[in-house]
């Protein structure tokens, strides 16, 4: 059964290798002259102010929570799609009820402007 996932495993290995090769070649052949200015992050030529990480506004949090909720909804779609034929018409009906309830939430979120970025 695990052989099914061989393609994914190969993809992971190859993509990791490509990344490593790209960095490795640069390390191998690139000139390495270090100075204080060179080690600083590049910010369009401006002098760097403060740390690279900053506090994020709370609205990101709301977006993330909404993302999680719809993400969990999507997880239920996969087994449903796989067994769609066996479940028959009633299976369709079950999923419609599930989606309609979440559509209520979607409509509510839309109306309250939770999906906007003021």
């Amino acid at each position: 059964m695990l052989l099914e996932y061989l393609a994914i495993a190969l993809l992971l290995v190859v993509s990791t290798l490509v990344g490593l090769i790209a960095i490795g070649l640069g390390e191998l052949f690139g000139p390495k002259i270090k100075s204080k200015v060179k080690d600083e992050p590049y910010e369009s030529g401006m002098p760097v102010i403060g740390a690279g990480t900053r506090r994020m506004p709370v609205r990101f949090y709301l977006i993330a929570v909404l993302f999680i909720l719809f993400d969990i909804e999507v997880v239920f779609f996969l087994p449903w799609a796989v067994a769609f034929r066996q479940l028959g018409l009633f299976g369709m009906f079950e999923m419609v009820v599930f989606i309609v309830i979440l559509l209520v939430g979607y409509a509510y979120a839309w109306k309250k402007g939770a999906l906007e970025w003021e």
Binding site: F90, I101, V104, A107, Y108, K111, K112
Partner: protein, 477 residues
């Protein structure tokens, strides 16, 4: 594929859930005046109450043994719906006064009641878990509803963190029980429990008990209660202290009586100790409180201990029905008295957060007699002093416990009640004997709530037979 009988079993819950979804949409798209949302929420609760009452005497199970309809669930659901209605009545004017009026308040309250009702009907641990989440998440949000107040935000966060923590215990317990019996269905667990080694099952059951213990605020899982009850908006506290307690005890009883009679010998000792510690600690710490909301919070902890007493003999078929009936009666008595007391607290609370000290009740009798008399009735009922419903409840409870052979526990209960008289009577003394000034909010639904609660507290105590009969008839299927 579900049959009509399945839907019949769960009809009130389905109706209320659909109503809540519709109300959410109506409120955000159409309704401008939020008072209308409150009325519609109350209408939904009333219709569901009618449906629930029409199911009296019915008994069925549905959705592949996930839920059940029986006398017990009907009794609990009716109680939940009444406390939902009272919760709306308490909130109606309070949220306006506090400047936190939003339609979602009522929608969330409805969803919470849906979870509570589902919890009383659940016969599968998975449904118990989902129902517990469904009643808790709205309560977390409601506790933090007064977002601009740091205390309310803190209450919501604290309740959420500890609630999530306790749910972890519950889920872990469910996992172990599943590991021991290969099922999450309560009757299948009962069937498998007799044929398997019981250590895993006992640990699982104990962890489930911890999870519910947090919800109903039993010592030593009570730490969140005073801060959350104090910080949350008072109308929310009133609803939460009744609704969450009923639901927690209902699920605790159904899970233990249906699935775990095999380990009753171990569990009885644990329940005995929890009940005793809860009564003692709740009442002792309440003495030193000066804030009325904190005092009532500790009082609610102590009452969780009294109610838990009724569960101690759950594995003894000769005693259990009577003691459970006494527990249900006590729950009903507590709900009525508790809502009344919180109603009085709301009547004295000012938008700037003043009026919540016990000293603020000084001289209330000379300002507004009805309110002071009602508060006196509630305090007497919480002590268990005649002629109040609390006295009748304690009488049934202690009698059942002594019949069950737990005289020691009953003595602890009586002594704890005597200690509790000290802090309840202090409020009464303040109202009658001291001088003071206060501003009192007069609002129709609020006045009706505490007035009706005071009337019922006395009236039912004069003729308690019918309620006890209903509680005795409320058997598990």
């Amino acid at each position: 594929m579900p049959q009509p009988q399945d839907y019949q079993t769960l009809l009130p819950v389905i109706v209320l859930a659909v109503w809540a979804c519709a109300l959410l949409l109506l409120d955000s798209f159409l309704i401008q005046r939020k008072g209308l949302t409150a009325c519609l929420a109350a209408a939904g609760l009333a219709i569901t109450l009618g449906l629930t009452l029409s199911q009296i005497g019915r008994s069925s199970s549905g959705f592949s043994g996930m839920v059940v309809l029986d006398g017990f669930s009907t009794f609990i659901n009716a109680l939940q719906l009444v406390s939902g209605l009272l919760g709306v009545a308490l909130a109606y004017a309070y949220v306006k006064r506090m400047g936190i009026e939003r339609g979602e308040y009522y929608t969330l309250l409805l969803f919470s009641v849906v979870g509570m009702m589902l919890m009383a009907q659940a016969t599968d641990l998975i449904v118990v878990f989902i129902a517990l989440e469904m009643l808790s998440i709205p309560l977390y949000v409601l506790a933090a509803f007064n977002r601009t107040q740091a205390a309310s935000e803190e209450a919501g966060l604290k309740y959420f963190l500890l609630g999530a923590f306790s749910t972890g215990f519950l889920v872990y317990g469910i996992t172990l029980v599943y590991g021991a019996t290969a099922s999450t269905n309560l009757s299948a667990i009962f069937a498998a429990a007799s044929s398997t080694s019981n250590l895993l099952l006992t640990i699982g059951a104990a962890l489930i008990l911890v999870g519910f213990g947090f919800k109903v605020a039993v010592v030593p899982f009570h730490m969140w209660t005073p801060d959350v009850y104090q910080g949350a908006p008072t109308a929310v506290t009133g609803f939460m202290s009744s609704g969450a307690k009923i639901a927690g005890f209902a699920a605790l009883l159904r899970v233990f009586a249906t699935a775990f009679p095999a380990i009753a010998a171990d569990m009885t000792d644990i329940l005995w100790a929890l009940a005793a510690v809860t009564m003692i600690l709740g009442n002792l710490v309440a003495i030193s409180q000066t804030d009325i909301k904190r005092m009532l919070a500790y009082s609610s902890i102590a009452h969780a201990g009294y109610i838990l007493m009724a569960f101690v003999p759950y594995g003894n078929p000769a005693v259990a029905p009577v003691s459970i009936a006494a527990g249900l009666f006590y729950l009903a008595a507590y709900v009525i008295t508790n809502f009344g007391a919180w109603g009085v607290v709301i009547a004295l609370e000012q938008p700037d957060g003043k009026g919540l000290q016990i000293s603020d009740y000084s001289g209330l009798f000379w300002r507004k007699r009805g309110l002071a008399v009602a508060m006196t009735v509630f305090m007497l009922s919480l002590i268990g002093f005649p002629p109040t419903i609390g006295m009748v409840g304690k009488f049934y409870l202690f009698r059942a416990i002594i019949d069950g052979g737990f005289t020691g526990l009953a003595i602890i209960g009586v002594i704890a009640s005597l200690v509790s008289a000290f802090y309840y009577l202090r409020v009464v003394v303040n109202m009658f004997m001291r001088e003071g000034e206060q501003k009192i909010e007069r609002e129709f639904w609020l006045d009706l709530t505490w007035g009706a609660a005071a009337f019922l507290t006395v009236a039912i105590s004069l003729a308690p037979g019918w309620l006890f009969y209903l509680a005795s008839a409320a058997g598990l299927r």
